[in-house]
Symmetry: D2
Subunit: 254 residues, 4 copies
């Protein structure tokens, strides 16, 4: 992330890759009306709005060779966003495994909405990642329960999302290392919708708002969360090489 000068890091742009399944926007009129160029273009704009030149952004999607994530792309990505829904099963096992491996070596992952069921997220969580759901125009309120967490920086509590798909507990994930947001829905359900986990040298943030049928990613507060999440999962200096079991003779550290 740049050279160390006087204990401070000289910033280089954070290299973000936005992975979008990118099917609904081309197939469903209702979704295309909201995201005519794909939801990843809205995320890109959100990142530039909040992070400016501190971020460089590429996009990738399912139908590209290697789903747009060949080794050289993954290795030059600091933070990967992931959104998928109807085609989780079409993501090649080898690509999902490579992404999970890259996270363990230090790449940050921001998993959005229905990515809770993606191969990548499930590989990293070790659980079913199931949840309750309903698409019935619920209002979602996103409450901050960790007000000093960097992902909540500058975000009002609650974020008011007029219409969203309902995601409800029990959300079958490991207890999060950081629980930042809890949502309520007009139907009464609650959901731990903003959660952070550490996996190896990498960080994962899951953020639940974002169903394709509602214009959630145009919401300015949601955009702020996307930018904050990118910054928070960004790798520290420990990264780039796999961690593996080393034989350690007595006194190796002396």
């Amino acid at each position: 992330m740049g050279d160390i000068v006087g204990g401070e890091i000289v910033p280089e742009p954070l290299r973000v890759t936005l992975w979008n399944e990118f099917i609904h926007e081309r197939k469903d009129d209702s979704v295309r009306a909201i995201y005519p160029d794909g939801m990843h273009t809205v995320w890109e704009q959100a990142l530039h709005t909040h992070l400016g030149d501190a971020v460089s952004v590429r996009s990738a999607w399912l139908e590209q060779p290697d789903h747009g994530l060949p080794a050289d792309v993954l290795e030059s990505t600091d933070v990967l966003f992931w959104w998928g829904h109807i085609a989780h099963g079409e993501v090649a096992d080898a690509v999902a495994a490579a992404v999970a491996d890259r996270v363990r070596r230090g790449m940050g992952l921001v998993a959005l909405h229905s990515a809770h069921y993606s191969k990548v997220f499930r590989l990293l969580m070790g659980t079913t990642c199931s949840l309750r759901w309903r698409s019935a125009h619920d209002r979602e309120l996103v409450w901050t329960v960790d007000p000093t967490h960097p992902v909540a920086h500058g975000v009002p509590s609650p974020i008011v999302i007029p219409e969203q798909e309902m995601y409800g507990e029990f959300f079958d994930v490991p207890p999060p290392d950081d629980l930042v947001f809890i949502s309520s829905f007009s139907g009464g359900e609650v959901f731990r919708g903003g959660c952070g986990w550490k996996r190896g040298f990498g960080r994962v943030f899951y953020f639940s708002p974002g169903d394709q049928e509602y214009p959630v990613y145009h919401h300015p507060d949601v955009q702020r969360v996307l930018a904050n999440a990118a910054s928070w999962v960004a790798p520290s200096s420990v990264r780039g090489s796999a961690y593996s079991a080393d034989h350690a003779p007595t006194g190796w550290f002396e």
Copy 2:
């Protein structure tokens, strides 16, 4: 907690003391109508319903000498319940300190509803324990987010409480060691209303339902939670003596 036989514990009754401020029930007609003999009598019945002879129960309240908690009572208490509201300031500092000390030496504490602002709870948390609130007949739904936690055993998700005071985030407590229940309210707020913490050799469970103006402690699912919480905070074998800094000469354990 009884003798160890073949690795199993032969149960003796769990010694529970129920501490109730016990002012509203005698002063306010609306509260007396719900709890004519004090809310502690309803808790006592709940514990016997679910734990039977495995529990022995005493009660204590504010106006008694030493608030009913002289040293011999505290020392012979395994689990203490605490409910207070309008008279937190009248609890003697020395009694609050003695209770907190007793928790650190292994006594379990179940803090109920407005006890979030009690001296005892704040001493153990180290924070302001503030929250948002509103008494406006909200419906409260109590959702289980840790389905295998002993305090959630046999409890439906959600518990539906037709009317309750609203308690909302941000709840200024340390991140709980165990987050078991999250409530939503008809007004849209959420609250981490079922939380466990370790403090020294003792355990603390906070359970938010229970405003005096609503018949919450008559609710059978709430009663089940009270019994589960008593069991969960019950001391293990490590208890009874203060933990203090010991000088440890080299090889003391050999």
Copy 3:
């Protein structure tokens, strides 16, 4: 786990299956001298010593059909122990996946020593599970850092293990939900060697002592930990069926 009577559970035996790779004991003279009938026979004796009739025990090993873990065995197992070392790669992917799935549906898992690198444990953790190591007759001291945790019940701090393989940090696992034991070694390393995690409706406990070249499982304090761990990961009442995403129409809980 038996019928509910008056709020108490009438115990039925906990059904434990001990899975042992069972290669070293038959191939290496040095290991056979320590565990002539396999290390699982020593674990079985430990469980009966501490849990008596409260536990029923079966064993299974690698070379059996389905590695001794066909569906009917897994489904009738409450707690599974796992020890493997040189043949992790020979465990069929389908069996490893079935075991992980069974944990998510409520079976407890006790992963021992070199099982840190087993397929089952890695599937549940989502990380590499790497660590430093050295087999050089280090003395291991196992310190309790959570004295009221059930797995530490009746266990001295430290447990003194005269000779053991060294396992050292960084141990690449998710931050444990429960950190119970930390070991030090004469060479100076430390290791988070007693850790608990929740995964779906199941619990996992990892306990690091137990290299095949040292008589660790004959140590009475280690045996106590094995029994405690079996009890702690034992399933609660929520188990037996997969958790899956359910559509939840508005007001489904009313």
Copy 4:
């Protein structure tokens, strides 16, 4: 922390106040030889070495009026360091309470070594903060168990401290929100010596190395930890005003 421009924070110097009991250095020849101008002067140098102009530093000590911490100093302090040992009891209760209150409103606290027993730290933890100890020239090894944590940034694992007082478990603090370092000592003990907690809008980091009889704060890696800790506990944007229970009428957020 500066103005927000394009989502980025324009840095102003972090305002650090170093609180040192400052008795041993003036009374004990052995300590004066190590820290002739007080250990706080070595910390100050360490902060400037690693944080340069990004930090402005003041010092305060016990014998000053209000122990050097009147309201205007506390209110203009972003991060407070605390070291005390033989005179914890001489710190006025009112000052300790004011410091704890200031932490809850967003000031960061770095508690060093024997500050584990200070009034301030105990008020924030809610526990006895006891531990085992021995001053016998043990070698201390400080191992990183959370390699991507900002406090571990640029720090070798282990840090080798040739001689130090031994601090050993059980360390009676709440389970840390962040466990960054675990130490071992030549005598065999282990200690969770690098721990972070959240308290209200503030963060606390405890770092155990630093007995006055050994030149620990001259160690370059220890100095790096001091600077990292200052940065990590530095307040985010949510700070400055007490959090208090607010009445929240229905729909207040709409």
